[in-house]
């Protein structure tokens, strides 16, 4: 299966030379196998994913949560406006409102001119929680994770390959940080032994205390999570909009001084074939 990253920026899109290398689009990734395509999150990166890459008739969009940086691109995903397409949107269930109702709060006036119910494609919505389900050749596990509001991470499996996608996550929330016992680590089941783990690493260790509870991880906590879960290779993602390419590389270099976990910075356009 082929994994491709279309947006790895956190919070808000950035443009300009300072963030050109790792990219300014917000969260979006895709996983493809044969003519099956899964799109993870609908941040602004999804717009580029919506072109020739989306040749298949059916496309499944798996949303981790509905914060704006994860859905902002949905209305610009061209297959939604193609009547020949069958689009399935999967997202976390809430205890109060339906997924349709919550997505419609964004895809409706005054925030957006077209109502979700009026898009021409054949649209189906599915709510997930702590679930295991199949889409084409993929087996998918979703679990609620620590992040404000209903938020899930996804573990995508095909044959023996695992890609885990947890772009927004604060497993270290608490007075003593992450509890270093797998039974007590949010998201552990999703990431255990993953071939590729994409994980939130928005802040430096110094920035994190001022942003505790906002739902994101420091690079050190992301590395600790990767270590506890024995992920084989980790992509640090959800880059802070204020962090330039140079700053991100300094963060990573500093992190590597004290860790031997296999990691790299998630980069827009990154592709890897898991075979």
């Amino acid at each position: 299966m082929k994994v491709k990253l279309w947006g790895v920026r956190g919070s808000i899109p950035t443009t300009g030379p300072d963030t050109e290398k790792y990219g300014g689009n917000t969260s979006c990734a895709s996983v493809a196998y044969d003519d099956h395509l899964l799109v993870l999150d609908g941040g602004t990166g999804i717009r580029q994913c919506g072109g020739a890459y989306c040749a298949s008739k059916r496309i499944d969009i798996l949303l981790t949560h509905l914060h704006l940086d994860h859905i902002q691109g949905l209305g610009f995903f061209s297959p939604l406006f193609d009547a020949s397409k069958e689009i399935h949107i999967w997202g976390p269930a809430s205890s109060s409102q339906s997924l349709f109702s919550r997505i419609s709060r964004y895809l409706s006036p005054p925030l957006f001119p077209v109502l979700l119910r009026d898009v021409p494609c054949k649209l189906e919505l599915h709510e997930v929680s702590n679930s295991v389900f199949d889409i084409g050749p993929f087996r998918i596990q979703s679990s609620y994770i620590i992040h404000p509001g209903p938020t899930v991470g996804y573990r995508l499996m095909r044959e023996n390959f695992v890609f885990t996608y947890i772009p927004d996550h604060e497993p270290a929330l608490g007075s003593h940080g992450m509890i270093q016992n797998p039974k007590w680590v949010s998201g552990y089941d999703l990431a255990e032994g993953a071939d590729i783990l994409l994980h939130d690493a928005q802040y430096t260790k110094e920035e994190y205390p001022m942003r505790r509870g906002w739902g994101h991880s420091s690079i050190d906590d992301a590395g600790l999570f990767a270590s506890i879960t024995s992920a084989k290779h980790t992509l640090f993602a959800h880059h802070d909009p204020s962090h330039s390419d140079a700053f991100l590389e300094e963060m990573l270099a500093s992190f590597k001084l004290s860790s031997d976990v296999s990691v790299e910075l998630a980069m827009e356009g990154f592709e890897i074939e898991l075979t």
């Binding site: 269930a93 007590w184 552990y188 089941d189």
Partner: protein
């Protein structure tokens, strides 16, 4: 190894920040976490005991009603919460580790997940304030 659901993890993280004794159990009443103030009540340290089966930890406390008579387990807030998944509060006495009667209040509540599943229960022990 299957991790606990986040509602349980977040309850532990909250308990870890509090200065009042907090006990967290699974749906069977097995003690899966107790915080530092609860260690003083239990006379044991979580780091040393780890999780404790219900048969083991439930015998530590000797609850008495306000007349000094032993209370049946089914009268205790936590046992009632585990039974019907509702919150309870009750004031009674326990025999402290030093053998003295200690008036306390216990509040218990169920942990119901976002999906509506019953995951466990929390018991908070409050020292009764002298009036």
């Amino acid at each position: 190894m299957a991790a606990y659901e986040i509602e349980i993890i977040l309850n532990r993280q909250l308990a870890d920040c509090l200065s009042i004794p907090v006990f967290i159990t699974d749906i069977l009443g097995n003690l899966i976490f107790y915080n530092e103030p609860a260690e003083q009540v239990l006379g044991k340290r979580f780091e040393e005991t780890g999780e404790m089966p219900v048969e083991e930890w439930s015998t530590v406390f000797k609850p008495l009603d306000n007349d000094g008579h032993p209370m049946a387990p089914e009268e205790l807030p936590l046992v009632k919460t585990l039974s019907d998944q509702c919150p309870y509060h009750k004031s009674f006495q326990i025999i402290s580790l030093k053998g003295k009667k200690q008036p306390i209040s216990v509040t218990s509540y169920p942990i119901i997940s976002r999906s509506g599943n019953f995951l466990g229960a929390v018991a908070i022990f409050w020292k009764q304030k002298l009036k």
